[in-house]
């Protein structure tokens, strides 16, 4: 038995992306924040290593760097843990520290000032409407559970306790939890929240009602005031359930959403359900009834004001009466807000070196691992990258250290990946120390901080290319690698340009093709119209390796956008898990998901 507790340092969470695209939040709809505590047995670890090895050898994607999110807190009027304190390692500090009594007013201040992306008066708080679900949600609603990076444990919050017994998962709602209108928050509300998430296509549906959403009403039930029961369709690893449940906010107030739940439960067909979901998705809730420690007061063109809710179970931990969220629609305005002491903190915000230098001493910058980062995504149906030798050659040529350095713009917020394998936690050296312990010598590093041009040349020659007049060519045609990406993600663009220049120096005709962010994601990426594309190489929402491999091998994106084949050729790491070089990684991923391992 290998305990990986204390190892995963897992977290994900929202918002790490840098630029606001077109003035809209990228940091919204946080349905994430999670990472399970894992007790790994040998077989599970072996499975993960095998998947890591296949990824390392077949390179469906080339992981370049991992990201550390920058999080800011001012300390002159506020008392917060120091940046090295493990309490800061909770996603996000602005969510949890005030609730825990760890972010308190030390001076004579009335109000905590934070920032939000959307115009406050245009913001809304229906989580199933994907638009303008603004930052005050963090204090208006409570999350189901908390994931503590220090103890590597899930602890109860709104869901105070849980138990997996066979195929029944039982959740207990925290006592004394109250909606802002005074009514108690009950198991029915929690069940409604889970049901609405599943009806909206949430991941739990895969385990609760994989075939027919008509069964959701029977499978998610409130057995009494404080107990919710989930009947699972098959055996499931508890870590995966927790990873999906933990980040949820309870927003399903009966008075606001009850009608939708009833209609969805009673719907006779998928079409009927679609119609209700459509209505739900266009419902705008501008004056929400929440259940968090702060209640909605008002919003105008400039700020949202929320005030302390005295009936919240944690109200006693909070010694300031109000939080205001100022409208700050760009990174620049947020930088200035912190530099000029206008705002008291920012959950996550990319700030380049020259701006960090302008911060007053009272602002502390905390780095929080993000378990996610920029990678080069290969379209497996497009030449020349459908040839693994070309992908490997690219990997050898790119110096990931310098990519990370340029992408990080003088901050320490990007770390080059040492073993491109789909495993995260480079920042704490756990890839080498834990996940791949004892097998690292089998893994190819492709040169973390160097351009291994000789190896790359050998691979290209093997693939039929020849260097003529400084350019790699095959049948007279130069080796052309266009890299597409979203122009709004300035750090990614810098990283891609570094890679392009390295490839060019080596004689590959590489170019960077940056598109308007919505065109890139909405058209090029989702139509598979790219040869090499920029994308995060790990699951954006979870940190447990299962989720990364599911994303890489068994997600809609992999199958439809990158045209990833169902089978790859890769040497074998653990003989007892595979026979032969042909492997279907999705099968290995499926083995990880059941509770049998």
């Amino acid at each position: 038995m290998i305990s990986a507790a204390g190892l995963t340092a897992g977290l994900a969470g929202c918002g790490g992306r840098q630029a606001t695209q077109n003035g809209t939040p990228t940091d919204h709809n946080s349905v994430d924040d999670s990472a399970p505590t894992v007790e790994l047995d040998d077989e599970t670890l072996a499975l993960m290593q095998e998947l890591a090895y296949v990824t390392n050898q077949a390179l469906p994607v080339l992981p370049l760097q991992e990201k550390l999110a920058q999080s800011f807190q001012t300390t002159d009027d506020w008392s917060v843990p120091s940046k090295d304190n493990s309490k800061m390692q909770t996603y996000w500090p602005t969510d949890w520290l005030p609730r825990e009594g760890e972010w308190t007013a030390s001076g004579d201040v009335e109000r905590l000032t934070l920032a939000q992306w959307a115009v406050p008066s245009d913001s809304q708080y229906n989580p199933w409407n994907t638009k303008n679900f603004a930052e005050p949600r963090r204090t208006l609603f409570d999350r189901f559970m908390k994931y503590n990076l220090d103890s590597q444990e899930y602890t109860g919050y709104l869901i105070s306790d849980w138990a997996l017994d066979g195929q029944t998962f039982t959740l207990t709602v925290r006592e004394g939890q109250t909606w802002h209108d005074g009514s108690p928050a009950t198991a029915t509300d929690v069940a409604n929240q889970i049901k609405l998430d599943i009806y909206n296509g949430g991941n739990l549906g895969e385990f609760v009602a994989p075939e027919d959403k008509g069964t959701v009403a029977d499978r998610v039930t409130a057995s009494d005031e404080r107990t919710v029961e989930l009947s699972l369709a098959g055996p499931v690893n508890e870590d995966i359930l927790l990873a999906y449940l933990q980040p949820k906010y309870l927003a399903a107030h009966e008075g606001t959403y009850g009608e939708f739940v009833t209609r969805l439960d009673e719907a006779g067909s998928d079409e009927e359900r679609s119609a209700v979901i459509g209505e739900l998705a266009s419902k705008t809730v501008s004056d929400p009834v929440g259940c968090g420690p702060f209640a909605f007061e008002n919003a105008d063109s400039q700020r949202t004001l929320v005030s302390k809710f005295e009936d919240h179970p944690d109200a006693g931990n909070i010694n300031f009466p109000e939080i205001e969220y100022l409208y700050k629609p760009s990174n620049q305005s947020r930088w200035n807000g912190l530099i000029n002491n206008e705002t008291d903190g920012s959950a996550t915000l990319f700030m380049p070196r020259n701006k960090l230098n302008q911060l007053p001493d009272s602002v502390q910058t905390t780095l929080i691992p993000r378990h996610w980062g920029l990678g080069l995504l290969f379209n497996h149906e497009r030449e020349p990258v459908n040839d693994v030798r070309v992908r490997k050659a690219i990997a050898h040529v790119i110096n990931r250290e310098s990519v990370a350095k340029n992408s990080g713009a003088g901050t320490r917020s990007k770390i080059a990946v040492t073993y491109p394998s789909g495993l995260t936690s480079e920042f704490s050296n756990q890839v080498e120390g834990t996940w791949l312990k004892g097998v690292t010598d089998k893994f190819e590093t492709y040169g973390r901080a160097e351009s291994q041009t000789e190896k790359a040349a050998a691979l290209l020659e093997d693939a039929g290319y020849e260097k003529q007049n400084g350019t790699w060519k095959k049948d007279g045609e130069p080796l052309h690698i266009p890299i597409k990406g979203p122009s709004g993600f300035s750090d990614w663009v810098a990283g891609a340009q570094t890679a392009v220049s390295q490839l060019k120096d080596f004689g590959i005709k590489a170019e960077s093709v940056m598109k308007d962010s919505s065109t890139y994601w909405g058209k090029d990426y989702s139509n598979g119209d790219f040869v090499v594309g920029l994308q995060g190489w790990a699951s954006y929402n979870q940190s447990y390796p299962y989720f990364h491999y599911k994303f890489l091998y068994d997600s809609h994106s992999a199958k439809n956008y990158w045209n990833s084949p169902s089978e790859f050729e890769s040497p074998v790491l653990h003989d007892d898990l595979r026979d032969g070089e042909t492997v279907a990684p999705a099968d290995l991923v499926a083995q990880l998901s059941t509770g049998d391992n």
């Binding site: 349905v31 994430d32 409407n129 296509g201 979901i277 998705a281 105008d300 305005s333 000029n340 308007d516």
Partner: protein, 336 residues
């Protein structure tokens, strides 16, 4: 009368052509509202949602008939705007009028104040420069006026927000008024509105007055050389009366059309400024709409700006003859 009808008809035709061209052009923008929504969903961790799921959600969230051919959408759109229906914003899920309507007074406040400032300061300065023609004051002012007139307002806006807003923190860097105040006709609220509008207004005013001043100076100098002015002086009329009744009136007259055109830019004149100062006015929502490829909202903004401009020019045209009887006489009355 027939001239007026013709002139109005031509204005209507202008609006029609501009609206039609805008309708076509906005659809040439890469990507559409659906791509934008899809991009949002993919980035929000919806990468694991199936394409069908994403498309279904998008269909549920938008009210535009994406499958209709463009010409059908065009005919539908034109028919409804004639009936006063500008459609619903895709992003805000509200009628376009309810998104733009509340923003109009704020934009008008900014642009009208800026125009008032630039015009009064510019005209007074120009007149004074004309009287002091050739003096150091005249030469310096002409230089300064030229430089400012050729400076884009957003450059001034960025400088103002960087120094007066962030560096010295003398003015707010965004918003329409302090959130604590109750909107209404009370002094603190109005003062706060003025305080918040100060930098945006200044940004436009600083670069605007130079042009008016130079025109006024040129016109005044021309008028000062006229024979009738010499006659007026010989008649012994008071200088003040000459300055105001003889010089100012005649010097301002040629600027009337320019003023009406400037009034026509009242909705479209602050698009970039509003975005720099995060000031939710018409231009602010127009940029949001462009980014989100929110066709109905974009069109609403364009139509508002176009109509205001055409109305401004038409009024200038129709009233110029009345202001300056010399210009009367049918077609030749056109002032531009």
């Amino acid at each position: 009368m027939s001239y007026i009808l013709k002139r109005l008809g031509r204005s209507a035709l202008t609006v029609f052509v501009v609206v039609s061209a805008s309708f076509g052009l906005v659809r040439l923008l890469p990507g559409g509202p659906l791509d934008y929504l899809r991009a949002q969903m993919i980035q929000q961790g919806g990468g694991d949602l199936s394409a069908a799921e994403i498309n279904r959600r998008i269909a549920a969230q938008t009210n535009i008939a994406v499958d209709e051919p463009v010409y059908v959408q065009y005919v539908d759109y034109m028919t409804s705007i004639v009936q006063g229906d500008f459609g619903r914003s895709i992003w805000y899920e509200e009628p376009v009028a309810s998104v733009i309507g509340p923003a109009i007074p704020w934009t008008v406040f900014l642009t009208a104040s800026a125009l008032f400032l630039t015009f009064t300061v510019g005209v007074s300065l120009g007149a004074f420069m004309a009287y002091k023609e050739g003096s150091t004051f005249d030469v310096t002012s002409t230089g300064v006026g030229l430089v400012l007139n050729s400076t884009p307002s957003y450059v001034v806006a960025l400088l103002l927000i960087a120094f007066l807003g962030y560096q010295f923190q003398l003015f707010p860097t965004g918003g329409r008024y302090a959130s604590e105040l109750t909107p209404g006709l009370n002094v603190p609220f109005l003062a706060s509105v003025l305080y918040h509008g100060m930098l945006p207004i200044l940004s436009m005013a600083v670069v605007g007055f130079g042009g008016w001043a130079l025109s006024m100076r040129g016109n005044s100098i021309r008028v000062l050389g006229e024979d009738y002015l010499r006659v007026a002086r010989l008649r012994g009329l008071p200088t003040r009366r000459i300055a105001i009744r003889y010089v100012a009136r005649n010097a301002i007259l040629p600027m009337y059309t320019g003023l009406m055109i400037a009034i026509g830019t009242v909705f479209g004149g602050a698009v970039i400024i509003e975005n720099i100062f995060a000031y939710p006015g018409v231009g602010f929502y127009l940029i949001q709409a462009i980014n989100a490829r929110d066709y109905p909202l974009m069109m609403g903004g364009f139509i508002l700006i176009t109509v205001a401009m055409v109305v401004g020019i038409t009024i200038a045209d129709l009233t110029y003859g009345w202001l300056d009887p010399r210009a009367s006489g049918g077609e030749s009355r056109e002032a531009y």
